[in-house]
């Protein structure tokens, strides 16, 4: 029992040690050349080379330190200076004695000074030389990731694969560190594979473009309209020693229910000839085929034909309803195929099509399917040229012939007993 206690205590101490090292490690910067008027920013601390003065053949470097504020103002920190071996030491230490910044002059010219910077008690997330001094220093604030989740399709069927892309950009004022992404698997979908996972662990603030963070594919497993679980980004900002997280938007995906097997009637209509004389007949063969394993019900086959054509005859399945040829079947068996012949008389010269229209119930819905035949050309009939002449040209001879025939008939009857 005691041994277990010791092991646990040792592990806790090791963890505290590691944590203390990672959260408040020392930062050292050596031989940093800073021109007069310029500075160096560490987190929100700004070290400014304020002036370089000559002193007994030496040059005296004046260092000011400031604490940058989120509202754009700053606070000049109280520093202490001392000269050791003709080198000036400038030191800041907060009132708690936790944070300490020491700037040690190593060389100095009239234009710049070369310094070693050491810190204590600061998790340095940001350090950078700043031209122009304090006026150009920027407050290093909190990061804020804006996360998007995009899908390549929003209407799918069960079994379909959806590609999801997660993008992010830092719209905060400070860098995001140690970013991790949880893509947020959604119930009803099965994760298939990660396509792209090499997203950056850090993201500076101020970039206007989205950065591709994560791409993965998932398979729709259930039907319905689903709002995807948002992706979550977790990140840190050591400046404030805080953990942040951001959620993405939630795309909506509609997954169609598993398709119900229905019947499908395919329809073709074929004229036996495409050119005929007016007054002649033309037969159309309608082929009706159920290509599914489910029978169709309440099947009705109509022919839509122009007024200039007259239905003449057809197969025995055809009934005349409202003077139109109609085929009706209460059931059209699965995988059943049949052909029906319709014969029409072309009454007028012209170019025509005939449309076959089948309506049926496919087991779920009432379906209407139409198909149109090839064009048929009705040309003038053999004796149509007779129409070119006025009626009296024919009537007068006919009257004469009828009169003669009548006379002969009447005369014959006079001699017939």
């Amino acid at each position: 029992m005691r041994a277990d206690y010791l092991v646990k205590r040792s592990l806790i101490l090791i963890f505290i040690l590691i944590l203390s090292i990672s959260t408040a490690s020392a930062f050292d910067r050596y031989d940093e050349k800073i021109y007069k008027g310029d500075g160096y920013q560490i987190n929100n601390y700004f070290i400014e080379v304020f002036s370089i003065k000559s002193y007994e053949d030496n040059r005296l470097l004046t260092i000011n330190m400031y604490q940058l504020k989120s509202d754009g103002t700053y606070e000049e920190l109280v520093v202490t200076s001392e000269i050791i071996s003709n080198k000036k030491y400038t030191k800041y230490q907060d009132k708690d004695g936790i944070v300490e910044i020491i700037v040690k002059e190593t060389n100095c010219t009239s234009a710049y000074g070369t310094v070693d910077i050491t810190t204590l008690g600061i998790n340095v997330e940001y350090h950078h030389p700043v031209k122009g001094g304090l006026l150009n220093a920027k407050f290093i604030g909190e990061p804020s990731l804006l996360l998007t989740k995009e899908v390549d399709k929003t209407n799918v069927e069960i079994g379909d694969t959806i590609r999801v892309t997660i993008k992010a950009k830092n719209v905060g004022t400070g860098p995001a560190k140690r970013i991790t992404i949880d893509h947020g698997i959604t119930p009803g979908f099965t994760f298939k594979s990660a396509i792209y996972t090499t997203y950056p662990e850090e993201m500076a603030a101020g970039n206007t473009d989205y950065t591709q963070m994560y791409i993965y594919e998932m398979e729709a497993a259930q039907g319905g309209t689903v709002t995807l679980t948002p992706a979550t980004a977790t990140y840190y900002c050591s400046t404030y020693d805080s953990e942040y997280s951001s959620n993405s938007n939630r795309p909506v995906v509609t997954v169609a229910q598993e398709a119900v097997e229905t019947s499908v009637l395919e329809l073709t209509v074929t004229p036996h000839k495409t050119e005929l004389q007016r007054g002649n007949k033309v037969t159309f063969t309608v082929s009706l085929r159920n290509i599914k394993d489910i029978p169709a019900t309440t099947v009705r086959l109509d022919m839509l034909y122009p007024y200039s054509m007259t239905y003449e005859s057809g197969c025995e399945d055809i009934k005349i309803i409202d003077n139109k040829p109609v085929i009706q079947k209460s059931i059209y068996e699965a995988r059943y195929e049949n052909e029906y012949d319709y014969t029409f008389v072309a009454n007028e010269v012209g170019i025509y099509n005939i449309t076959a229209k089948v309506s049926y119930n496919d087991g779920t819905n009432n379906i209407i399917n139409e198909t149109t035949s090839d064009t048929i050309y009705v040309i003038e009939g053999k004796y149509d040229y007779l129409k070119e002449y006025p009626l009296y040209v024919y009537i007068i001879p006919i009257i004469i012939i009828v009169a003669i025939a009548g006379w002969i008939f009447w005369r014959s009857n006079q001699f017939k007993m």
Binding site: W407, I408, R411, N413, Q414, F415, K416, M417
Partner: protein, 366 residues
């Protein structure tokens, strides 16, 4: 002039039909597009007991065909025929009466058949009793070899007609005219056509404005001469032969309807000539007329001028005697005798029972 022509029996019907055909112009279809060109008002009536014979007629209107219902003819039996006429006399006479008044009538018939042979004599008698216009019989004698019944029918028909009060009998003879065609049908058609052509010519002669006039009176005078038997001769020229030869031809056996020696058997005659003036040489005509007159006595002469027409001659000759008719009656007597013997023989066989009596009293065995 009003003329009535009655065709009785099959032969009379066919000659009547031929007359009607020629009146239409002679074409097969002329009845459909022309009117009959009779010179006078001519009424024709076909009478027959055989309806099939009436139906065969093509150029005689149905209203002019009078069917006497008696099965399908009288079967050449004149006794039956005469009784049939008596039974239907009123119908026949009423039909004739409905046609109006007439100036002359002709009854055309065969002497040998059934209906015509048996109907004609009493019909003529009835006409004579009813009307006062002259009635003439146009009688066609049979082929001699056609059989005993036809011969005896002819003999009795002629006799009865002669006694009926008829004003004259014009004879035609199938026997004499048998060579008119190559086969029996064309021979009959030819005979019918010949008789019809002569009849039409005669009708025209009786009612035409002629250069030299003959009329119904002349015809009656001619027909009243001799024994009341007459025949008609006919000939036509082709524009080359003379009118003299044409007249001679009409008076020759080839031109006559009945075989006779005109110059020896003739009693009176009427000669009618028709054609273009240029063919009608008056001297030749007069010469031939004079020649005939010197043999038979009086000859009437008529001339019809038809411009552009080739000459035709029609002669009507009444006969005092006729050898051919005597011969016919001789044959008829033989035929009657033969029929009588046949009847006697059959009557005897019937009395004895002949073969049938052999099985008297027997019954069939099975």
């Amino acid at each position: 002039m009003n003329i009535l022509i009655i065709g009785a029996g099959q032969c009379g019907n066919r000659i009547l039909d031929s007359i009607n055909n020629k009146a239409f112009g002679g074409g097969r279809f002329s009845k459909y597009y022309t009117k009959q060109k009779f010179p006078s008002r001519v009424e024709t009536i076909a009478v027959n007991t055989a309806i099939n014979d009436l139906k065969e007629m093509q150029y005689t209107k149905a209203k002019d065909r009078l069917h006497i219902p008696h099965l399908h003819g009288v079967g050449a039996n004149r006794i039956v025929g005469k009784q049939c006429f008596i039974d239907n006399k009123d119908l026949i006479m009423r039909t004739i009466k409905e046609r109006g008044n007439f100036d002359v009538a002709f009854v055309i018939t065969s002497s040998s058949g059934g209906t015509g042979s048996s109907f004609s004599p009493p019909l003529i008698e009835e006409l004579k009793n009813t009307y006062d216009f002259p009635v003439y019989g146009v009688v066609i004698l049979p082929f001699r070899e056609e059989g005993t019944i036809y011969l005896q029918n002819s003999a009795f028909c002629l006799k009865e007609m002669h006694n009926s009060g008829v004003d004259g009998i014009i004879l035609g003879d199938n026997q004499f005219l048998k060579y008119a065609g190559t086969d029996i049908q064309s021979a009959y058609d030819g005979i019918n056509s010949m008789v019809a052509e002569r009849m039409l010519f005669l009708l025209e002669a009786l009612d035409s404005e002629m250069m030299m006039v003959t009329d119904l009176g002349d015809f009656k005078t001619v027909m009243s001469g001799g024994a009341g038997i007459a025949t008609i001769g006919f000939a036509k020229g082709d524009g080359i032969n003379s009118i003299k030869s044409i007249i001679q031809q009409s008076l020759s056996p080839n031109g006559l309807l009945f075989s006779s020696n005109i110059y020896e058997e003739g009693s009176r005659a009427m000669i009618i000539l028709r054609g273009d003036r240029k063919y009608l040489n008056i001297d030749e005509i007069s010469g031939q007329i004079d020649k005939l007159s010197s043999h038979i006595g009086h000859v009437f002469k008529g001339v019809i001028i038809r411009n552009g027409e080739t000459p035709k001659v029609l002669s009507v000759i009444t006969l005092e005697t006729t050898v051919e008719l005597d011969t016919l009656y001789t044959l008829a007597v033989e035929a009657i005798q033969m029929e009588k013997e046949k009847h006697d023989r059959m009557a005897l066989e019937k009395e004895t029972g002949a073969a049938f009596s052999k099985i008297d009293g027997l019954e069939p065995q099975y």
